[in-house]
Each structure stands twice: as structure tokens, then as C-alpha cells.
Amino acid sequence: MKVSNRAWRDRLAGQLPADLAEEIDVFDTEIELRMAGKLDEKVFAETRLRRGVYGQRYDNGQRWDGEVTQALTYPAAPLTKGPNTLWDAPGMQRIKVPFGGLNARQLEVMAELAEEYSDGIAHVTTRQDFQLHFIHIGDTPALMRRLASVGMTTREACGNVVRNVTACPIAGVCDTETFDVTPYARAITDFLMGHPDTQDFGRKFKVAFSGCAGKGCGLVNMHDLGAIAATRTVAGQVQRGFELYVGGGLGSVPHQAKLFDAFVPEGELLPLSQAIARVFARLGEKTNRNRARIKFLVAKLGIEEFKRLVLEERAILPYDPEWTAYLADLHLTDEQPLHAPADLPAGQQPEPLARWLRTNVEPQRQAGYYTVTVTLPLGDLTGDQLRGLADIARTFTRETLRTTVDQNIILRWVSGADVLALHAALDGFGLARAGAGTIIDVTSCPGTDTCKLGIASSRGLAAELSTRLAEKAHTLDAAVQGLHIKISGCFNSCGQHHVADLGFYGVSRHSGDFIVPHFQVVLGGQWGNNAGSYGLAVGAVPSKRIPDVVDRLTERYVSAREADETFQSFVKRIGKVEIKRLLNDLTAMPTYDADPSYYTDWGDARVFTIGDMGVGECAGEVVSRIDFALTGADRQIFEAQLQLEAGQAQKAGETAYAAMLQAIHGLVKEEFYDVPTDPDRIAAEFRARFYDTRIFWDPYAHGKFGQYFFQAHEAKHLPYTAEVAHQRIEEAQLVLEATHAAYRKLRAARLNAGLGEAAQP
């Protein structure tokens, strides 16, 4: 922790916006109260989360070092900053960047903070935020003050509040947009942040804007509230408004947003958003956080009833002049170029410059100007790079920068005459990497590097795939180059794997007495059309074989695709049976002795296992009873996907439920061999033996996956729509993963008790 922290308060006195200054002073006080034991740890946890101060992996004071689990004896222990979160443990600081908009001075301050408080790296996230890792909580107020001094905030970057408002990063310069959504994104950010009606949600609330329906930049369909620019003509006057969507979201079970209204006039955007917030706060789930996102409320009520309630709420809202005040100032976010427009230099450029021009430079709607994408590997950049980028932004533009959900940064308003000089300047800082938006531009959440929820190393895999693909980028077929790869370290979808051509999310499997990192392969997602459709998992593959998965799928796509066939269409045409056959041999796990490389994750040196689990001699080659049940459930999930694809929603839903039941039945049999096959009895035994005892509990999701089973069980006789069947399949996959985890716990407990496999009934 820095000795200068207190001094920053004095140094920046009077330089911060009053509301932010007060907010940070309050947090300073709360830190002192918590340190003095006068503030409950749960209350403190929520208050720090609302300031973007997150926990980080190993903050419970334990870390598996590859041989044993070591205790991390932080000096201030047992003081905590939340349940099971030690005070001194390094944490993550998220910094909001509304609509991704940045200026040069803000980049310079990010550089300072990354160097002085973090590990020298600033990280761009999949929601246009910045994140700094390995931050001591004691440093956070000084860090926040320095951010506030340049107009940046961490306020409500985490917690059950309105998170960073994202928007298309080429809003205002895009040739397909209806109009520039930037001022509206800024207005809703200012209006909803700290608003009394947004402080009592059961879960977070994410908002996104897009200027058009066709592209993927805004990803409106996967947001709690999404707005697509629209116009209509009334009495000869063109009115601005929005096609408004609610109830979308990824997470463990993705939901497509529902159309709330095909045209909400611009003047109604803020009051309607406020009314939605009030309905969500009033009727949304509060006790069970796993069902607390607004998507569950919309699904439960139905969009028509939800809309009725919102409009009813809207009708009684007390008038607020802020609803429309900003409409007089829409021009405030307008941007101007620094240099005169010009076309790109004529003539063929040498490689790799030519490739960079093809992939990273796009013409703007305004003739003679271009957007230039700075490709950031894994979203990371150093202090020197941030300062270099700040200088470049000043030299070539009027500091018109935006972060992107692809974890890159875009420079806007670059004159064509400057593009080559800009490339040279970027190259000087190692920022002229080609391939923006192509298959080598892999997106990843932090995964096991720093996230407490990570199961497998998403960043490690992303780095490996990106390196391998970059080496052969110039030989890749054009159709393959345009694909998107997105990776999450777990089912929570922070890497947005559901909307990629090739998506992966981390899971694990046991092999003998070891745990093997795996990734579920998710195919058929759509990035375009604002995240128009979600992919489905086709099977888990050992982490070390994922590069082979990418090679096989892309090679097959190149060799077997029909003219102009998209990858999504190709996947649909050849079918999941064929894809599964194609990947089947890659799912094999050699024993540890035969190939120990399978048992460590990408970018890690440690054996990937549970630290306190013993190594038994009898388990290596034995296939236990439950393995058959779990394999059978896996197969049923796959069949359900095929049924859904064939338009048999009812059958697909029933099969997905049957898959859950088979997995749960297999687990129950581990404890009660003669359990009857009656589903009600299986559910009752499962509840008593695994759910109520919390063996089936996830450390972070708690009882969520067990609840999926109970809900599916209760609803098993209800009709399945295609959407419900889709969700049931996703839930079945997660129940299966949870069953694997529960079985591992059971097995570890037996081995620790010296019972071994032979002790099973």
C-alpha cells in the first residue's frame, strides 16, 4: 500500500467533481470503519463492489502450488473485506468507460495507475471497461481520486447496479447507423448512475446501444436493456427514437432480449428506463441471486405483462426535467477531425503493412476519414503503450478514442493522409498488430489468471490460439480469417463465448485421481445482428487439444463449405452429429503417466487438480458406475440439441430434462444404490443427500444448479417452446457439470477417509 495515499486527497482537493469527491470520501471512511471492526463485512463487500473494487483469485488465503495448497498469511488477517476475502489480498479494480469514450489525458492517468498500483498492465474488458489487477484495497481511494480528476469513475462498476453503458465504438462515424447513439449512451449513464431507483436491484443491470440492427458492435440482444437507433416520420417530421429490448443476457443460461417496443421516442428513453428499473427493483428476485437478473423476471411475467407493468409505472412517475434536458445538448459529444480529409495513399503497400490496412483500417461515413483499430493482445497494454497511444491520439486526432468489446481501442477521425504515419507511430510502441476482428483477434475473460470463478485458463488458451493462428494468418483462407473466437474461463460467459463462431468455456473432467482442464466447444453463435443467436455446446475437449479443434473445424469449413456459406450456416448444415464425430478422438484423455501435459493448463506450470485430493492406485483404469450415467446424460444433451435443431422443441425439452435426471440419478446411486427410478423419489433423495447437505453446491453459484434440476422436474409436464427448450438444454449442461463437481467432492471425501473406490455401495 502506498505511503502517499493520504496526500493525494490534499493534492487533488478542489479538482474533482463534488459528487465524486464526496463519494470517495465516504468510501475512505468506510474503509476505516471496516478496519476498526465497526462495519459488517457483507455490508462492506457490497459497498466496495459498488465502487468497482472486486475480489481476486486466492483472496481466501489459499493457493494450490502444484504440490500442496499453501496458506497465504496476509499480515492483516483475519481482517476481511467481505466473506472469505482477506483484507490484504490483491484485488481487481474495474473502471467504467461509458460507451468506450476516452481522451489522451485519461490514457496517461491509466498508465500512471497501472504502474503505481497494479502490475504495470491495464486491461480492456469485453464491456469496454478498464481493469487493473493485483490492487491493494488501501490504495483504491487514491486511485479513484486520480481517476476522478480526469473525469473517470469506478462508481457502480460492479455490484447490483447499472453497470457500464456500452455502445457501438464506431457510433457517429459508421455508414450503416441510423444516427449517432453516443449522446444517448452518455445521457442514460449520467441519469441512472446513483439514481435512487437503481439502488435496490437483486442483480446487476447492463445497458447497450447500437446504431443499427445488422452489425454486432452493440450486442443489444444480450443485454438487460438494449436500444437500437430508429427513426420514424410523423407529419413530415423525422423523429428519433429507439427499438427497445429488455431481458437479454448471457451468463450461465443465455436469454435473447425481447422486443419491448419497436419505437420509443427519444424523449421517452430515460423515463421508460427509469420505469423499467423500478419494476425490476420491485418485482425482481432478491433472495435467490441465481434467478435475479431481469431476464428471469421478463421470462416469468412474459413480455406483454412486463410491458404493461412498466407502462403503468411510467404513467405515475413524477416528472423529472432531466428526462429531456440533454436533448438540447446532443451535439456535446460530437467529434471533429484534427486534419483535413484525404484518401488513403494509392498503390500497393508491402506486407505486413498491407495486411494491417486490410484488417485494421475502415473508412468512416465521412469521406476522407478512417477508423484505425489498435489490436491489443488479450486486451492488455503497458504504461509506455498507453502514453504512446495518448501522444498518437493528440498527433493525428482530437483525442477521439473508444474501447471496444473486442478488447481493442479504436482511433477515430484519422485522415487518410495520416494513416501510414500513424501505422509507423503505433509500430514504435508495438501497437501495429494486424488482424483486428479476425480469427487471430481472440477475446477472453480473465479466467483462472485472476478470476475467482475461473475453471480453466481462458487467457492461456487465447494466447496460445492467437500465437498459432497469427503464425499462419497469411495462409488462412479468407473465410476462416473472418471468424470470431471467444473464450470464457467458466460458464458465466464473461468472454461472450455464446456469440462467437467458435466459442469455448472452461470445465473440468476427472481422469483417475486427477482433474483435467477442458473446454466446452460452443458452435453456431452469431456476433452480427447485435448478437443475433447463441451457440450450443457440442462437447468438452481437453484444454490441450483445443488448438486441434480449431484446426479441424476451420479446415473442414474451408474444404466443405458451399459458396459464401457462413460458418454458422455450415455448422447447421453438416450438423452436430458430424461435428461430434469430427472431434471425437480429441476428447480422449491419456493417463497422467502417458502424457502429463494434459494435466496442466495453458500458461500454467502446476498440475491441475484439487490440492487435498489423494492419489489412489485403484482409480486409474476403473470406469465407475457414475461415469456411465454422466456419459449417458452428455449424450442426451447432445440429442436434445439435435431435436431442437430439427424443430422438435417439445422433444428437445423432454430429453434435456431426462439428461438431468440421468445425471442426478447416477449421483444419488453413489449414496443409495437401490434408489427407485421414480423421478419424484430421485428428486427427493437428491434434495436430502446432495442439495440440503450442500455437496451439490458450487462455491460461488451456491445452489443454482440444483435449482435448475428442481425447476425442470416441477415443470416436466408443461409444454416446451423452442426458447424454453433451449434454456433447458443449457441448464442440463450445467447440471451435468455440477454433477461432475459433486462427484469429485464425494470421491475426495472417500479417499481422504481411506475408503477408496471399493467402498462404494
Binding site: V3, Y58, L72, A76, P90, I121, D380, D384
Partner: protein, 195 residues
Amino acid sequence: MSLQHLAVKLFAANPAQVADTHWVAYFNRWIQQHLAPEMLIDVADYRHVHHGPGVMLIAHEANYSLDETGGELGLLYTRKAEVAGDDQAVLAQAVGATLAAAQRVEADTPLRFDPARLLVIVNDRLLAPNTPETLAALRPALTTYFDGLYGAAAYTLQATAPGRERFSVTVHVPQPPTLAALAARQPATEVTSHV
């Protein structure tokens, strides 16, 4: 003006040798075997970043990294926790930790360090703004310490140009002692962790 939060970098003499070691595994072994006095937490790999911090061993009180800033590979020790004592104690702690770590790396791997150059950064822009005034204020403390380490007139100090970068000085030593000899000249310091 008092010193705290120093970062010290020893540059590699044979940077090409860096490829011969699995550094993530290597630093993980430090954690397994408690090979540094700090409480070691995790290893982060930033080799995908151009001229970045490379492979980093994260500890509670400090970080160790095979830093590539400026395109020059070196071992960087970055002190995060406060060090008790005066400026001499603070300098001795950071330089001493760097030398100890470098000796261990040399003993374990083919990588070698050049004792003729040492970079000292004050990783706190409020404590030490990168200005001529800061150099003037800190020069006595730096001179006292490096006179003791290298001998008076055996080295030169070169400050980074004033600007946005952190305040730093590079110590150039035309006829440097070995790392072991430098380590032996370190005053004994009792390092207390303050968070």
C-alpha cells in the same frame, strides 16, 4: 522528500538465454519452496505484451519480474509495501532484494546479469515527481548509498529526462564488482512489512 516504493532493475547480459528457461514453472518453484523473503502469491505471464513486464512473480510486499520495458530484458524488483527506516534503509532493501534475486536466477538458469548498470525507479509520482527538483532533493541520499556500494567516483548517476515517466536514475559503473561482491557490501537491514 523521502524515498519509498522503489523499483530496481538489473539488465540481462545475455538476453537471448531467456528462452532456455520455463519461467512460469521457475517462479512457481519459488512459491513452492519459499525462495524469497516476501509472501509469494502467484505468477503472471505478460509475455504477449510488447516490451511489457514479462513473467512476473507476485508477492504481497513486492513483485519480481523478467521485465522487458524499453526492449531491454532485466530482473525488476518492485517494492509495494512500505519499508521502515531512512532513505538508506529503503535503498538497501530494494537493491539488496534485487541482487539476491539475481544471484538466485544466475545460480538456477543460464541467464546472467550485467552489474555495470542499475536502474532505480521511484514508483510513486507524488513522492517523487519526475522533475529536476526531485533529482536535486534525492541526490544526497543516492550519492551516500551508491558511494557505499560502489565507492566514490566509481560510478555516474543519470536521471531520466523530466516528463510523464516515473522519476528514475540509472547508475553506470565502468568497472563493476560482481553481484556477489555487491551483495556482500549491502548493509544489514531488517525489513518490516507495512501494508
